[in-house]
Symmetry: C2
Subunit: 452 residues, 2 copies
């Protein structure tokens, strides 16, 4: 992955992200691969548990040794918004390979060259391992035909998918309808709602507007964690905040969308939202008429009654781009509204000391509906660390039990196997009595690196 110049050129040609962003994404991609390499070297991820025999209980207990095994071949559907970090050599592939699973990547059609380049680099590295280059395969093609063929292939044992709710749900349905159903780990859409308390607004209105405008505009708003829905107190301060946020978004440079499809979808979504009764557009700039997928940030304003009464999905689904919606709302009503928004990757609370009671009530509800709870911050920026949870209740993920980011993402592609009364020589190294790999295990309830 250190073939930096070639990668820069490919990504910039196909995704127009610019050198700084591509460099930082490449650094993250390399970090992720190293992180999983370290994880498998360390070895505890197999969750080895050994319970020795006990002939004295009724009924007598046999010896049992359990560990996690690779699930089988994994199909990965890459999105277009992270050509590297979620691409062919991205986190899904890294976690599946680390689990010991062969990987078939369905490359995103708008980035064939970047995908081929990453596959070539990975396959060259894999050629030096016992698995060989062929444990990574890549396929090109458009949905729905190629996607259906990949998900229906009986050899595939699990799917990792990042993309839209519509495409993801269609593939999820195919996976569930197979003669042998399999896990489908889809990361679909998320509004990443923000809730701002009255005291926080009084104290830090301009700071929050500045932070939010950056978070909405980052990467032309094409991040799964872009804040798409902002609840502020229905007060003069709330209205001033919304206008301030709009002004700040109007001062951001135009962004560039990733492809024609995203540009078309965002255009029609914005059009629908613009025409909703009770919804006002606060930002003033239109998209430039220049060729290419240039986009100006947009902010809409509405009120609680309109938001609750609007049956159109326009306010309940992600505008994939630099677009957000501010809802003027009675703070005491925000917890109940948070409970009606469906599942999201993240939920953010901005609160000051005087908001404490409200914030506790907010947090209690929000924790039931999101995977990551953010305090006085912004949801974009997903730290690749063990404690990260990237995945939430549906539709943000099709499996809220798992994370797409961080070391625990490997757990998606592993299943437990127990060995009963097995001879030591036939056991996997991880389970042999003398612990030849020196990994941490749980033996008769005690965690230890010792053998016995």
């Amino acid at each position: 992955m250190d073939a930096r110049a070639e990668i820069l050129a490919a990504v910039d040609l196909e995704a127009a992200l610019g050198e700084a962003r591509i460099n930082s994404e490449l650094a993250r991609t390399i970090w992720q691969l190293h992180m999983f390499a370290d994880l498998i070297d360390e070895g505890a991820y197999v969750e080895a548990i050994i319970d020795r025999a006990n002939p004295l209980v009724t009924p007598p207990r046999p010896e049992l040794r359990r560990m996690l095994h690779p699930l089988g071949p994994v199909a990965i559907f890459t999105p277009s918004n992270f050509p590297l970090a979620y691409g062919v050599a991205g986190g899904d592939t890294a976690s599946a390979l680390a689990a010991g699973c062969p990987v078939l990547v369905k490359a995103h059609p708008s980035q064939p060259a970047t995908s081929e380049l990453c596959a070539r680099i990975l396959r060259a590295a894999l050629a030096t391992t016992p698995g060989g280059a062929d444990v990574l395969q890549i396929v090109h093609g458009r949905a729905p035909e190629t996607g259906r063929a990949v998900v229906e292939a009986a050899e595939i044992a699990a799917v990792g998918f990042t993309g839209s709710v519509a495409a993801g749900r269609a593939l999820f349905n195919i996976a569930a309808a197979r003669p042998e159903p399999m896990p489908f780990y889809g990361e679909l859409g998320s509004l990443n709602p923000i809730f701002i308390g009255p005291a926080a607004l009084a104290e830090r209105s301009a700071d929050i507007a500045a932070g939010l405008s950056q978070s909405v505009g980052l990467g032309a708003g094409q991040f799964c964690t872009k804040p798409g829905l902002v609840f502020v107190p229905a007060s003069d301060a709330g209205r001033r905040f919304a206008q301030d946020l709009a002004d700040k978004l109007d001062h951001l440079p135009n962004g560039v969308l990733l492809n024609q499809n995203i540009s078309n979808l965002l255009g029609s979504h914005v059009d629908v939202t613009s025409h909703l009764a009770g919804v006002t557009r606060l930002t003033r700039r239109d998209n430039p008429k220049a060729p290419g997928f240039h986009v100006a940030p947009k902010l809409f304003l509405t009120d609680e009654a309109t938001f609750l009464a609007t049956s159109s999905v326009a306010l309940r689904e992600e505008h994939f781009g630099p677009v957000s919606v501010v809802v003027l709302c009675e703070p005491a009503h925000m917890p109940a509204i948070a409970g009606q928004l469906g599942g999201h990757l993240t939920g953010t609370i901005h609160a000051s000391e005087d908001d404490r009671e409200w914030a506790e009530s907010m947090a209690d509800t929000l924790a039931l509906h999101v995977g990551r709870m953010i305090w006085n911050g912004y949801p974009t920026g997903v730290a690749v660390v063990p404690a990260m949870q990237h995945g939430g209740p549906y539709p943000s993920s099709t499996s809220s039990l798992h994370s797409a980011v961080g070391t625990t993402a490997i757990r998606r592609f592993l299943r437990p196997v127990a060995y009963q009364n097995y001879p030591d020589a036939l056991l996997p190294d991880e389970l042999q009595s003398d612990n030849p790999l020196g990994i941490e295990r749980t033996i008769d309830g005690q965690r230890t690196r010792d053998g016995f």
Copy 2:
């Protein structure tokens, strides 16, 4: 659950299992409840991970604290073959309640009184907890209507099911088709294949036949781990073994099936198998003509070519009752055949020192298709210990990533939530800096019970 006399009477009236079996199942049921109580007292099951902030890296890392939260209300479908251990107060309920999830039990229609009694006992205990009695609810009714209503209820967040492939798959499909899909943990059917090596057969033929006959006949063969398919070398020794096993089964007492439905299904399945070309029935006893669901053990014999050529599912699906099929088979072909059998809860190898090379090849294949590997033993008897894995590739389970038995079963009903830069006072106790619960956590990569 210590209201022993009342429970004994209810179970014996509805399931006719006899005092010894009911007492042992009751002991297991009580043990399971204590095991999960100990697990939540110990606290590490929340898998707390804390990664402290690092402002020096690019981009700066926020503080993240992750733990597992309850998934939400769980529906449990109880089977009839373990009125207590898999019943209303059984392992599924215990693990879901331990996870912090309310439970709605769909009681098995053949055991309404046992189910009500267990619900009453559990609700009385729950009334003394902060959750209150109402976190456990019970509903009666027949499939498919009641089952569909339970699985379609939007409030339900996960399902635990134990039963047939047909009923389980139908409910799985309903769960997958919901507007918000949810995890469906179904334990369906399993053949628990046994593979016997030539040297083991030469050394221990009579012992293996004795052990197998007990395992097939136990509980009238109505265990999910009953061995339903036995591969023995195609030799005179193999044929003698099959006849010996049949003779031993003919000497077992008749069993009693659990209900009319099981009796009808087994009757037609045995009828189909009996009429397959190339399949011989070795046991001589027919079912007694007395009233009630009495059943005589049955053993069928076939050969490898017939087994592979028979398109009828009769030889590939569980005979739910004291029935097994012996396949005379070239030992060298057994690993490839193991790869074509689909997923099973368990796989058993009987081997002696001289079978070593064959056994290694067998084990390599079998580990891809089963959840529990048994060496020179029998699959019935499922130890309730942390290292147990009860669940395998489809159709034995709809989610091979999880176990229905043992402490890890709690993981089915938990999902991760991460807290980013949260104030200590608003964090769950499990994640607060000073570790008020004293649980084991992973802080910056180190496992510790210390606070900071």
